[in-house]
Amino acid sequence: MGKSEVKGTVTSLSSMFPAEETQKAAKMVEEKLSEKQNEMNQLKEFIADNTSLINLVQKLPDELHHDIMVPFGKAAFFPGRLIHTNEFLVLLGESYYTERTAKQTVEILKRRGKSLESKVDALKAVMQDLKAEASFFDSTASEAAEGLVEIREYEEDNSTKWASQSGSLELETPSVAEADNKMGASEDDDYARIMSRLEELEKEELAAEDNEENLEDEDEDANAVESDSNEDELTKAAEGDGDEDELTKPAFHRKKDEGYSYLDHGQRYSESPRKQLQQFNDKEPIEEMSNKYKHQDLTNQFASTGLTEEPVTKGEISHGRIIQEDTKTLSPSINASAPFEKKSVQTSKSEFDSSKAFTGSIVEHTQNLDKSSVGTNTTSLQSSGSQPSKPVSRFKMQRK
């Protein structure tokens, strides 16, 4: 793998996302957010009213009658009293009323409260999405302002292979490859296993970071991780968002990978943040990176997804919604694929921020790795690889 021809493009982020457009989009999202906030306040008021009414209804039947001022129109009252304190007339909707006792009324009101609360939860979710969107736009705007550059590479033969492979990742696709059969089989088990494995790998990577060693090995190492994390991503989708997401994500994957894919392992210089990060790991003292790691996870994720995402969206800011959705579906995959390299991605990114020496960040799609070749890779790795082969091979073995 990786011995074929590589083509690439370099696009500056600001040409795809002009700063004003991004700011406009961010502003729009902010407005939407405040709108939702108002809605939320109203709902909270309703809930408070409802709970106080429940208290009242529970209290009223304690006495036979209560002296009150009986409203007579909106501007007048008669002195009078409440009678039949255990009979309530409750609106069911559509101007149908029913006579209920206090207990029954309380039940109705509690159900109303529940539906109100579910509305609040839904609204909260929407608001969180909007917040994420806003931060995404903000970070995109700032990155565009800083003159970030995206470098993308294509590798023809791998991309076709990958396309068929990613197709098989999709559970619903008819063309499930034999190699992937076992992967799809027990995803929950895989998930747990993979997570623990990835953690291990991360630790080992940290230990290995100081060594300047064979980059080739590193790459293959990354590849192995990558393919596994794809699987991981599947399980994540299954666990979290349910089928919908699961379907869309692999589909998206496939689309993306067919279109352009990925880096060549032979070429060292034009690589993506992920790969790059590995290089950074190799070459830079770890403290420096950790010092520069200032961004929040969320924004980083979005930023990184934004970078990898751009080709799909064709840089149309006006379709912010779509972008957002794409990135949303993507972000878990990025997460999943990144754990091994996550830290270094962030560091490399922030490095660009702090020292303007780099004119751009480099983006790559590491997901497109050949799963079928991974096995052979690892074996060759073991023989040839000096350092990271160990974790990888272990990883590999455990998986199979």
């Binding site: 009213d49 009414l53 209804v57 409203p71 409440l82 309530f88 409750v90």
Partner: protein, 151 residues
């Protein structure tokens, strides 16, 4: 010269948009509030007249406890009615007193409505005037494209 005129036009437009239009919206909202009050009191008068006609001495009604939950209520003596006289005060009236109060109240509300109507008309006139001024400012060198805003 030209830039001066531009500046002036901008100032006038700002005056219309920032000052006159919000004033107009505010005045219309106030007048609507008074219309509502008028309706409340005319309803009340109708109701009291109804009670008188049917010589009701006690009545049963439903009280809204909130969220469309009602409970029965009983008024043993309808002779005394507490009417809202404003600022949160309620005065105990007999029916005839209440009717007298309502007619007085109605007169006052009508006066207020007239006042607001006049205010609204004057604000509209001012807007029209300023728009005409802008048109005149632009008219000399340019065609009469600026339309007076119609409300």
């Amino acid at each position: 010269m030209d830039s001066l005129r531009q500046e002036k036009v901008q100032k006038f437009e700002e005056f219309v948009d920032r000052r006159l239009k919000p004033d107009l919206v505010h005045a219309i909202a106030e007048r609507d509030k008074i219309f509502d009050q008028q309706k409340i009191f005319s309803d009340l008068r109708k109701n009291i007249e109804n009670l008188e006609k049917n010589s009701v001495t006690s009545l049963r009604t439903l009280v809204n406890l909130g969220s469309e939950v009602y409970m029965q209520a009983e008024v043993p003596d309808t002779q005394h009615i507490f009417v809202d006289v404003g600022l949160g005060f309620h005065v105990e009236f007999t029916w005839s007193e209440a009717l007298k109060f309502i007619s007085l109240r109605k007169e006052k509300l009508e006066r207020q409505i007239e006042e607001y109507t006049r205010l609204i008309a004057s604000i509209k006139a001012q807007i029209k005037l300023v728009c005409e001024g802008i048109r005149e400012l632009l008219q000399i060198p340019e065609e009469k494209t600026v339309e007076g805003r119609v409300f």
